[in-house]
C-alpha cells in the first residue's frame, strides 16, 4: 500500500499490524503538565494518542495546542476536530495550523450538542458536518486546494479518521453510514465503546460483506468500566451506548473494591475476542481519567510491545 502521509498510524496499519491508539482529554486550565503527564503514562504502549476537542461540550484547553505538546514530546497525536464550534474558515485554518506542526492525523466529528456542557446557552455552528469535514481534509490534502478553490502552498498531509457507532439507531443504516464515510474519503475509523460484542460482530460481518473492511481501517473502541455505577450510568444515560445487562450484572456482583479490576478484565477479554474478528485492524482504548491503566490492558491483551516503524 502506498502511503499518503507521514502518519505513523498509517504506517502501522499499512504494515498490517494491529494498531493501538488511546486518548487524553485536555485540562480545564492552561497547565501543559496535565497533558504531558497523561501522555507519559501511555506513550510506550500506544501508536498514537487522540486529543479530544472540548468533549461533552465542556470548555477545555484546545485540542490543537495539546497536540503540539505531544509533538514536542516526540509522540504521534490524533487531532480531534468537531464541527460544532468552527465554521469552514476556522476548520481549514486550524487544519493548516496543525499541519504546520506536522500533526499527521485528524479525527472528524460533529461533537456532542452544547446543551450537555458548560455553555448550554451558546450557539452551535455546524456550518459543515463530520462527513463533509472528511471531504474537506481530503480535498485540501489530495487536491491541494481550499474549499473556495484557491491553491494551498504546502497542503496538509493528514491521515483522515472518523468515528462510527455500530450501536446507535437506526441499526439498518449503520453500515450504509460507514459506506458513506468511506465514500467521503475516510481512511481509519475509531468506533464507539463496545460492550455488546455480539452486536458489534454482527455489524462487522455486514461491514465485511460489503467489502468496506478493505477500504478503511477499523479500530474497535474500548473503555474499561471503573464501577458498576459507571456501567449503569452508561447504559441508561449516555446516548448511543449499548451496555448489555450481563456486563452490568458481572460488575454489580463483584465486591466494590474489586469492580475496577473486573472492569479491566472485561476489557481485556473483549480485546482478545475482537482481535480474531475479520476487519478489526486495531483498538482505540479510551480509559476515561484512568490513563494509567492503559499499559496494563495493552500488555495483558497481548498487544505489547508496539511495533517500530520508520
Amino acid at each position: 500500500m502506498k502511503l499518503k502521509t507521514s502518519s505513523k498510524l498509517e504506517k502501522i496499519l499499512a504494515n498490517s499490524h494491529l494498531a493501538v491508539t488511546s486518548e487524553c482529554g485536555p485540562p480545564r486550565g492552561s497547565d501543559p503538565e496535565v497533558i504531558i503527564k497523561k501522555a507519559d503514562m501511555i506513550k510506550d504502549h500506544v501508536d498514537a494518542i487522540n486529543i479530544t476537542d472540548n468533549q461533552t461540550s465542556v470548555t477545555r484547553m484546545c485540542s490543537l495546542a495539546a497536540c503540539i505538546h505531544l509533538k514536542h514530546m516526540g509522540l504521534e497525536p490524533v487531532l480531534q476536530m468537531v464541527t460544532r464550534d468552527r465554521n469552514r474558515i476556522a476548520l481549514q485554518s486550524d487544519i493548516l495550523g496543525a499541519a504546520s506542526f506536522d500533526i499527521n492525523n485528524i479525527l472528524c466529528l460533529s461533537g456532542d450538542h452544547q446543551s450537555f456542557g458548560d455553555c448550554s446557552q451558546g450557539q452551535n455552528v455546524h456550518d459543515i458536518d463530520s462527513m463533509q469535514l472528511i471531504q474537506t481534509v481530503r480535498h485540501m490534502r489530495d487536491e491541494g486546494k481550499f474549499l473556495g478553490g484557491d491553491h494551498i502552498k504546502r497542503p496538509p498531509k493528514m491521515f483522515v479518521g472518523a468515528a462510527a457507532n455500530p450501536f446507535a439507531d437506526p441499526f439498518e443504516i449503520r453500515v450504509p453510514r460507514l459506506a458513506k464515510k468511506v465514500a467521503a474519503g475516510v481512511e481509519f475509523i475509531q468506533t464507539q465503546c463496545i460492550y455488546n460484542l455480539d452486536k458489534f460482530e454482527q455489524w462487522m460481518k455486514m461491514v465485511c460483506d460489503r467489502g468496506l473492511h478493505e477500504k478503511v481501517h477499523i479500530l474497535a473502541g474500548m473503555t474499561p468500566m471503573k464501577t458498576a455505577g459507571m456501567a449503569k450510568y452508561m447504559k441508561k444515560r449516555v446516548p448511543g451506548m449499548d451496555v448489555p445487562d450481563e456486563v452490568v450484572k458481572r460488575l454489580a456482583d463483584t465486591p466494590k473494591e474489586k469492580q475496577g479490576e473486573e472492569g479491566i478484565k472485561i476489557c481485556i477479554e473483549a480485546i482478545q475476542r475482537l482481535k480474531e474478528v475479520q476487519g478489526v485492524r486495531g483498538f482505540h482504548i479510551m480509559a476515561i481519567e484512568w490513563e494509567e491503566k492503559v499499559p496494563e490492558i495493552v500488555e495483558a491483551a497481548g498487544l505489547y510491545p508496539r511495533p517500530k516503524v520508520d
Binding site: 460544532r84 455546524h126 459543515i128 462527513m131 446507535a168 439507531d169 458513506k180 446516548p239 448511543g240
Partner: protein, 222 residues
Amino acid sequence: MIVADKKPIEEIVEEIKDKEKILILGCNECVTVCEAGGKKEVGVLASALRMYFLNQGREVRIDERTLERQCDHEYLEEVRDVIDQYDAVVSLACGVGVQFMAEKYHTTPVFPGVNTSFMGVTEQRGVWSERCQGCGECILARTGGICPVSRCAKRIFNGPCGGSTNGKCEINPELDCAWQLIIDRLKALGKLDDYEKITPIKDWSTERAGGPRKIVREDVQQ
C-alpha cells in the same frame, strides 16, 4: 405559520408601567392561530393590565384593537388616525409586525407582547413545533420531505449523528431524531438507496449568514 409564545406579563409591565395611554394591538394572522396574539389574547392581556394598574391605584387607559395583519402597509395604516392618542403600543404580532409598526410610527414606542419563536405547525391544540428555518435554499426534495436544518439539533446534512437513540435526539428524549424520520420516510417511499448519496456542503449565503435578506420580484411590482 410563524409561531409565537406569550411574554410573561411582568416583562410587559416593566416596559409600560410609566405609560398612561396604551394600545394593545393584536394580529389576525399566525399569532391568532397559535393563540398568542389574536383578538382573544389582546382581551386577556388588556384585562390583566387594567387589573394591574387598578391595584397600583393608577388610572391608565388601555384600548384593544386587532388588525388583519401587521406585516402589510395597508392594515397598519388603519391606526394612523388614532396613533397619536397613545404613548405606547404593545403589539402582539410577531417580531415582523412589531418592527413594521415601529418603522411606520416613528415617534410612538412599540413593545413586543410575544416572543416570536419559529415557523411551524399545530401538532394538536396547544402544541406547536418547528418545521422551517427559512434557509433560502430548500433541500426537502432530497430528504424525504423532512428538514434536517430545522429539525436536527446539529442541522446535520448527512446524519444521523451517534446520539440517535430509539428514534429520539440526544438532547431530549421527547424530540424525534430528524434523521430517523428521514430514513423512515425514504424507506416508505422505496428510496432508501438515496441515503447513501452524500449531501454536499451547503451554501449558507441564502440564510441568515448572508445578512438580512430581500426578494425583489419585478414581475409582480406595479
